[in-house]
């Protein structure tokens, strides 16, 4: 087939990008080469719209061993141990084929982690669906949950935390972000940088089929009414093979055979081979006849662009082929020497003894397009003036019922009960808490992880929203007693070609950067997903932040369930009564405008660090951060989990009662302390200038608010637990 501009455009390339290719090659590419360019230069692989802005994120820190640019980020957790982690999106495929889309998302992120030599020890996910009333929502939710469970459960990696939301902006574009943490010894980390000439390049794992061809290009485009036709671009997962691949790779990694290793994820053999060559400043030669194929008569184009799952590319030390082959034979996996490293600095492909492609590696990588897209700055919306008469008409109990049973607050047990969250025998905090926590096997340490996003805040004011998500991740780690170390981000946005969407991206990233810098909470890995858009409608900007922290002594872990009658609950951080963009304002008052709550990074840091200090001294019996839904929702969850009541007396300040209980001011926590410790705790809080007040005293049962409103624990439970299972049945 003769390549021309139209064919290039059909491959998702722009006209000027095609011209640039011809210029760089000094000729017209053949179809295989064009396929390779389209795979490397799409948004998903090249980050062409985002690179410029991502560069501004803080990525360094004392505990950072590896920042962005590798398969995943790596942080130091002391004693020679390190945690490898990353979050990644699988949004587009999951909308088209929810089960396989979500399953291969989980499979892909786990591969990123074990490629670096780490055994996966925990999975998390952040999933977002359209309005519950939308006809597709239920099936998409069911399919995604089954897919995530199907893959993670079979791999034997616990799914320890997650986040789910519903919003009509996801009606045509759901989000599925999967995150994995792995454990590795600091001196046994593997990278993707090839080194040395004439080293064998080996292919291991599943055979290559025709599935997923152009998956990465599909994920770099908006949806239209023909979306169903894209089903063949969705990969099909085989978790059993991945389990074998995991064990085989870790077995090979225990020796000294591997120079570089890279999983075949998006854009399969193309991006894995090119990335390894590019990082090593080498060339690579591949004989495509040697690639194990599942189907007959596959063309070089198809072999290079297939996104069949559960495959790895490895550069071995010379003479180690037999050692490696023996291990992959033991695990019944395909193994083939398919090429070698060269000094040509080209990628050269052969098929039936003919050269079918020859491209200088640097023009694929370094010369890939980078755009400074136009973007629009957003203004901080004006505050709404909500009249006290409106608020005073509301009954606290009615509001609490509606808010607790709201789809974005209620218990997600229906989801996480379908995920094996206890396999590996180290899960000490299950889903449903502020963070999931797993022990570092055989030690006193534990690792906490949380995944968060606040699309509504980001939509109302991207800069504030970006900061808020990082702060919330930080708070969720603090609340379980973990010292926050670093984050990974999954940036889900609409089309970068629209100024509004690009503006949302730029300012959210700016907010994330500011907060992560201030909190010394660097970004070590991540992924960008643009074009979450159907025709002209894009999603609300949804950066998901995955935070990881360390608990040095796991017996000091904190959970949110109230522990003991007569203990006191303190509110840490100031309640100002910010109602705009709160769940209360949006659902009860039907008020969708206004600014999100302000994020004061000084207070976030100071409050968080002071709480860690109190936890370390043993004063904190339970803790929970105050986020979506506000104060009363937070204390309700603590009551429900601890099966205890509370007698609340609102302190005498000027804020309206409803605002006080349902405002979403940031930087706040609830902590439970013993009466006898109150003096000492207060002293520490005052010394650190942390705003605090008493919320109430823990009782046997019933939540009593200001001596006039009574809500029993059973009522709280019924508000909180029933919505999702009823919706799905």
């Amino acid at each position: 087939m003769e390549v021309n501009e139209q064919i290039a455009i059909d491959h998702g390339l722009k006209s000027d990008e095609y011209k640039k290719i011809c210029q760089l090659l000094k000729r017209t590419p053949n179809i295989t080469e064009l396929g390779i360019f389209s795979a490397m230069w799409n948004e998903h692989c090249s980050y062409k719209s985002s690179r410029l802005h991502l560069k501004k994120l803080p990525t360094k820190g004392k505990k950072v061993i590896q920042g962005p640019g590798e398969n995943a980020g790596v942080i130091d957790i002391e004693d020679g141990d390190a945690i490898v982690f990353k979050i990644e999106s699988h949004n587009h495929p999951s909308f088209i084929e929810p089960y396989q889309g979500a399953a291969t998302g989980v499979g892909g992120i786990m591969r990123d982690v074990f490629t670096m030599g780490a055994r996966p020890i925990a999975n998390l996910n952040s999933i977002h669906f359209g309005s519950p009333q939308h006809k597709k929502t239920k099936n998409l939710l069911r399919g995604v949950v089954h897919g995530i469970g199907g893959y993670g459960n079979c791999m034997g990696v616990p799914t320890i935390a997650g986040q789910t939301s519903f919003d009509s902006s996801y009606n045509g574009n759901i989000l599925v972000n999967a995150m994995t943490l792995g454990l590795v010894k600091k001196n046994k980390i593997f990278y993707s940088k090839a080194a040395g000439l004439n080293k064998p390049v080996i292919y291991v794992g599943s055979k290559t089929g025709r599935d997923g061809i152009h998956g990465a290009s599909m994920a770099s485009a908006s949806f239209d009414e023909k979306i169903e036709e894209k089903k063949p671009t969705v990969q099909v997962g085989d978790p059993f093979t991945e389990k074998l691949l995991l064990e085989a790779c870790l077995e090979l990694m225990s020796g000294d055979s591997i120079i570089a290793i890279q999983d075949m994820g998006a854009a399969g053999l193309t991006s894995s081979s090119i990335e390894m060559a590019s990082k090593g400043n080498l060339g690579i030669e591949i004989d495509l006849n040697k690639v194990p194929c599942r189907e007959t008569k596959m063309t070089p184009y198809e072999i290079m662009l297939s996104e069949s799952q559960e495959r790895m590319l490895i550069v071995l030390e010379n003479g180690k082929e037999e050692v490696a082959k023996k291990i992959f034979d033991k695990w019944n996996l395909d193994f083939a020497v398919i090429g070698k490293t060269t000094n040509s600095k080209n990628i050269e492909l052969f098929f039936n003894r003919e050269q079918v492609a020859k491209i200088p590696v640097n023009i694929l990588v370094e010369n890939s397009p980078m755009y400074d897209r136009k973007w629009k700055k957003s203004k901080l919306p004006k505050k709404n003036k909500i009249k006290n008469e409106v608020l005073n008409k509301l009954k606290i109990k009615d509001v609490l019922k509606k808010v607790l049973s709201n789809q974005n607050i209620c218990s997600k047990e229906w989801i996480w009960q379908q995920y094996d969250h206890t396999v590996m025998g180290d899960t000490i905090q299950k889903p449903g808490g502020d963070s999931g926590v797993v022990r570092v096997h055989g030690t006193n340490k534990a690792v906490a992880a949380s995944v968060d996003s606040s699309a509504v805040y980001c939509w109302a004011h991207p800069l504030t929203g970006g900061k808020q998500v990082v702060a919330e991740s930080w708070r969720n780690l603090i609340s379980v007693g973990a010292k926050p170390i670093a984050i990974t981000n999954c940036l889900n946005f609409g089309s970068p070609e629209k100024e509004e969407n690009m503006g949302e991206f730029v300012e959210c990233v700016q907010g994330i950067g500011e907060a992560s810098k201030y909190l010394n909470f660097p970004v070590v890995s991540g992924n960008v997903s643009f074009y979450n858009q159907t025709k002209e409608v894009g999603i609300k900007p949804t950066p998901s932040i995955g935070g990881v922290g360390l608990i040095k002594d796991y017996t000091k872990m904190i959970s949110m369930d109230l522990k003991e009658i007569d203990n006191l609950v303190l509110i840490i951080g100031k309640t100002e009564g910010h109602i705009d963009q709160s769940l209360f304002a949006r659902t009860i008052l039907d008020e969708k405008n206004g600014p999100p709550p302000e994020v004061n990074l000084f207070n976030e840091k100071n409050n968080g660090e002071t709480i860690l200090n109190l936890i370390d001294k043993g004063y904190v019996k339970s803790a929970h951060d105050i986020s979506l839904g506000g104060l009363l929702v937070a204390i309700s969850k603590m009551c429900i989990k601890g099966n205890k009541g509370i007698k609340i007396s609102k302190s005498k300040n000027l804020i309206n009662e409803i605002e006080y209980f349902f405002a979403e001011d940031q930087g706040r926590y609830l902590i439970e302390v013993n009466k006898d410790d109150l003096k000492e705790v207060t002293k520490i809080l005052n010394k650190n200038s942390v705003h605090h007040e008493e919320l109430g005293i823990i009782t046997q049962n019933d939540m009593i608010i200001n001596e006039k409103t009574k809500v029993t624990i059973d009522e709280l439970k019924s508000y909180y637990t029933n919505w999702l299972s009823k919706f799905m049945s």
């Binding site: 459960n153 978790p239 379908q418 206890t422 396999v423 025998g425 000490i428």
Partner: protein, 227 residues
């Protein structure tokens, strides 16, 4: 006391079982599915997981694997064989215990704590246990035990039902049945009571920081009974 845990390629609770057995004093060995010989053992455990991917009926391929012939012979000669979760599914497929395990009633994987009631303490597994109700943990997609009426009568007559799903107080009712299994059955023995298959994972309940500690009670008692 010597124990062996069989590792199939897709086993994923083999390490957890190894940790548990060692914690309570077993000298445990991991045995590869492709081996022919079992090491000398007082107890053989088939752990949870997805043995060969379980794309066919769960456990069916594993039941035909190399090592299983030795396990079957060991069981038939009176040796203690315990199958947990996928291990139970494998035992059912070998015919060492009667019945089948169907997909969960609500067609969903389920991971949570459950209570089980012991039905029979006249065996090495539960003898001398000072509790009748244990809190265990389940995590499975195919734990819906089913057998024919005749089989049910037979296993009842032979006291082969090991544990039932129940509530905290030991009430065996439909609402406490997590997967639709017939008569709330969570685990059964062979006729001779040396082979036990059960869905719950005692190895996930072996320390205070995990889901609970009733697994510790079970393993401590088990090793004392074997001694």
């Amino acid at each position: 006391m010597k124990s062996s845990v069989i590792t199939f390629p897709g086993s994923n609770c083999d390490r957890d079982m190894d940790v548990a057995l060692k914690k309570f004093g077993f000298n445990n060995k991991m045995v590869w599915h492709n081996d022919n010989e079992l090491p000398k053992s007082d107890l053989v455990v088939l752990p949870g997981g997805f043995s060969y991917g379980d794309y066919l009926r769960c456990g069916s391929m594993a039941s035909k694997s190399k090592i299983m012939q030795s396990v079957i012979n060991f069981a038939k000669s009176g040796g203690l064989v315990m199958g947990i979760c996928n291990g139970f599914q494998i035992l059912v497929e070998t015919g060492l215990v009667p019945g089948v395990l169907l997909r969960n009633k609500y067609l969903e994987f389920i991971c949570k704590n459950v209570f089980v009631k012991l039905d029979n303490k006249e065996n090495t597994y539960f003898k001398n246990l000072n509790k009748d109700i244990l809190e265990f943990h389940i995590a499975h997609n195919e734990g819906n035990y089913f057998c024919t009426k005749d089989q049910l009568k037979e296993i009842k007559d032979n006291n082969q039902i090991a544990i039932y799903y129940c509530n905290k107080e030991g009430k065996i009712e439909d609402q406490y049945n997590p997967n639709g299994s017939i008569k709330n059955i969570a685990g059964i023995f062979n006729k001779e009571k040396n082979v036990l298959g059960m869905m719950p994972h005692p190895e996930r309940m072996i320390d205070q920081s995990l889901s609970g500690e009733d697994g510790s009670i079970f393993f401590k008692n088990l090793i004392n009974n074997i001694k």
